[in-house]
Amino acid sequence: MDFLIQLFTDPVAFWNSHTLLISQIGINSILASSMFVVLYSGQLSLAAPGFMAIGAYTAVLMDLYWHTPLALNIATGTAFAGVVGVAVGLPVLRLRGVFLAIATIGFIEALSLGVILNLPITGEGLGLKNPNADPLGGINIVLVSLAVVVFLLWRLTKGRLGYAWTAIRQDELAAQSQGIDVARYKLIAFVVSALLAGFAGGAESHLNFFVDPNEYGVPRTVQVLTFAVLGGSGNVLGPVVGALFLTTLPYVFQQAGDYIGVVSGAILIAVIIFRPQGIVGRGGFAFVRPRWWPRAQVRAPSTR
């Protein structure tokens, strides 16, 4: 409780003493957004952590060996993730539903266990020390970029691209009949998601003095998926809300103490059962929407 109390009574002190938590929420939100993009175009891709790892390792290695500026490192990491995104996206495009999900899981596991743990340059199991990290200062970068990401996605979902994605998610056949090149737009979504994940990875690595190869595995992808789905994958705000909700859960329910795992599991089930479309779900904040608020037009994914 004292967590919430401080939040409302003394927000400034709260902000200063929880920068890491807040940054983490930001990172998770960006990750969830990357998951959102694929879900929004009707693809259940779980590759996010893989692209994260690529972004993170690229950024840190560039810093360690070439001492290049942070912005460049993260940018390069992001770009590299995007390139790999194309390489992975092309072959798996025709897969749908769980098949895509499992293929992408195969990708992240092969990457983390097969590649990262065996490349000398990544420090293998030793991980990478990242002396120039700035855990407390990173928050601004994270929050600003989160704002940008959300804004961009919001614009995208409102434009030609977004309409195409929605159409594909809703009904691929009908989408084709409207002249939409399904394969092309699916790939775009896949790559955009890769870029976002790569960026999140790069940014997160700047918050940590250590890059830990174990943080880019299946548990992470499950976590990110949960953020996106629980928040609601039909609205740009969904993933952010989901990340916020689940990341702060252990702090909000501190009195659950050791049983936090049990509690959050129960909450997860409860929410998904009573709001299968996610917390934000259909039509954005329609369920708390004041009269003057424009009616959200984007919808949750259809059940097909």
Partner: protein
């Protein structure tokens, strides 16, 4: 152009030319291959042989989105709107191909983008008005929640948004009542006057006859006739294809050819002598109302079936026939009204309980288990029964009655022909020891001789004392064997009477051909 489809030649060497600026009709009974033809043209189903051109552009082998890009847009027989999106969004998506990639513009939220967006919105609203939708009040509603007729119109608006060179309408009027049909008909004519070339697929002859300059008739994947409506409507082959074999004696010319406008059936219905409702019925439906979301599929229908009867339920596509049957089987729950089968409240009971009580449905499209063998299908049909040995003997008996099943017992049901599958479905129904057998479109898409087979079987089953509620496209055949019949139109019972009466009631022809 040939297209090999599953076991049968769905489209078999059909040649079809659509004259620019005309309305070309394409008719034929269900399962004639009309939709398959459209799917091939629009790139959903690959060509096996043959070619297709749009003016100078070859379509053969192009993916669907490219074909759409070339200017062929279509609607779907079973409406494929983006259900969760608003009506307006549906139309906007239709503009995809002629909308330049404005991603950057709108990321920057440039006024230029806003202007385009505004013009697009106006455009979309305009299109909705064109097809007769009041944009102002439904633009913001989720497409899936619109009434049936509006959804049809919206799909046309979406198709128009492509600015197509050729518009293909696949059964645009399916399941509409005469006045709605009239609306669609006027719409089609209006669009054509604006210079749009239209390929109209429908099995409602009256509509096609009314609007088309030329009509081609498909039956079993072959083109059996082509010409002006007048020519086609007196073509014996066509009449046969339409009314089922052996029906010529009843009908001398395909009805609708001289359709004198559309008078609501109800008028004539009142004239028609109401049938004597049986006193004690095994099935009693009172004032049943069923709806999918806001769409009312059945509105206050009431009917009764007495033991030993064959009762036919006829009417247009989407008139609500199947909905009633599914409600009886407990697959759908009604909004209001009662349905009682021998003291069992069908509006509450679980489907399995209903079956155990002896109310068995042979569903439309057979729904046999394609991946299991014929024998397994039959054995499954005895699920509800506990009498081991009796099962066996009866399965044997059934396989004697339908020898074809006996021969094919070890084959996967999916490999059977349509007619064989229908036999299997009926046999399955029998094995469940029905006290009331619901048959949904048993002759759907079957060859005439197969249809005869099926009806022979139904007749026999009835003679053995099984009560039957029959839902049938082939109304004439249905009425021939029915003791009584109900005519269903847009979810309401319009007429009822003995089979004989209705058989000779001119309104009936319009009623079922009106679908």
């Amino acid at each position: 152009m040939r297209r090999h489809f599953g076991g049968v030649h769905a489209v078999d060497g059909v040649t079809l030319e659509v004259e620019k600026g005309s309305i070309q009709g394409l008719i034929g009974p269900n399962g004639a291959g009309k939709t398959t033809l459209v799917n091939v043209i629009t790139g959903y189903v690959p060509f096996q042989s043959g070619h297709a051109w749009l003016e100078s552009d070859e379509l053969t082998g192009l993916p669907a989105h490219r074909i759409a890009g070339l200017g062929i847009s279509r609607t779907f027989q079973n409406i494929r709107l983006f259900k969760d999106l608003t009506a307006l969004e549906n139309v906007l998506i239709g503009m995809h191909t002629r909308r330049r990639d404005d991603t950057l513009a709108q990321i920057a939220t440039l006024p230029m983008f806003r202007r385009d967006q505004r013009s697009r919105l106006d455009d979309a609203r305009g299109l909705m008005e064109t097809v007769g939708l009041a944009a102002s009040d439904i633009a913001g509603r989720a497409a899936g929640t619109l009434p049936y007729g509006d959804q049809r119109r919206l799909e046309i608006a979406r198709a128009l948004a492509l600015r197509p060179r050729l518009l293909i309408l696949d059964e645009p009027a399916a399941g509409m009542n005469p006045s709605e049909k009239q609306g669609i008909r006027e719409l089609i004519e209006r669009l054509n006057e604006d210079g749009l070339t239209i390929l109209l697929i429908d099995h409602d002859m009256r509509l096609v006859m009314g609007v088309c300059k030329r009509v081609a008739v498909l039956d079993f994947g072959r083109k059996i006739a082509e010409g002006t409506p007048a020519e086609v409507s007196i073509d014996a082959g066509v009449i046969k294809a339409y009314l089922g074999s052996g029906s010529e004696r009843v009908v001398t010319s395909a009805p609708g050819a001289s359709a004198a406008g559309d008078t609501e059936l109800a008028g004539e219905g009142s004239a028609a002598r109401p049938a004597v409702e049986p006193q004690k019925a095994i099935l009693e439906i009172e004032d049943l109302t069923v709806s999918y979301g806001p769409v009312n599929a059945v509105r206050g229908a009431s009917l009764r079936v007495a033991t030993g009867e064959v009762v036919a339920l006829i009417g247009a596509n989407g008139a609500g026939k199947s909905t009633i049957l599914n409600t009886l089987s407990g697959l759908i729950r009604p909004d209001s009204g009662t349905a009682v089968f021998d003291r069992l409240d069908l509006t509450r009971a679980k489907p399995s309980t209903i079956v155990r009580h002896g109310l068995i449905q042979v569903p439309e499209g057979r729904e046999i288990l394609a991946r299991q063998t014929v024998l397994e299908n039959l054995e499954l049909a005895t699920w509800g029964r506990r009498d081991g040995s009796a099962k066996r003997t009866q399965i044997e008996a059934v396989m004697k009655r339908f020898p074809i099943l006996g021969e094919r017992r070890a084959l996967r049901a999916g490999t059977l022909s349509g007619g064989e599958q229908q036999m299997l479905a009926i046999a399955r129904g029998l094995l469940a020891r029905p006290r009331l057998l619901l048959l949904d479109e048993p002759s759907l898409g079957l060859a005439p001789q197969m249809v005869d087979e099926v009806f022979k079987a139904i007749q026999e089953i009835h003679d053995e004392g099984t009560t039957i509620l029959l839902v049938e496209q082939n109304a004439l055949r249905a009425l021939e064997i029915a003791d009584r019949a109900y005519v269903l139109e847009t979810g309401q019972i319009r007429l009822s009477g003995t089979g004989e009466d209705l058989l000779h009631n001119p309104a009936v022809r319009r009623a079922y051909l009106g679908g």
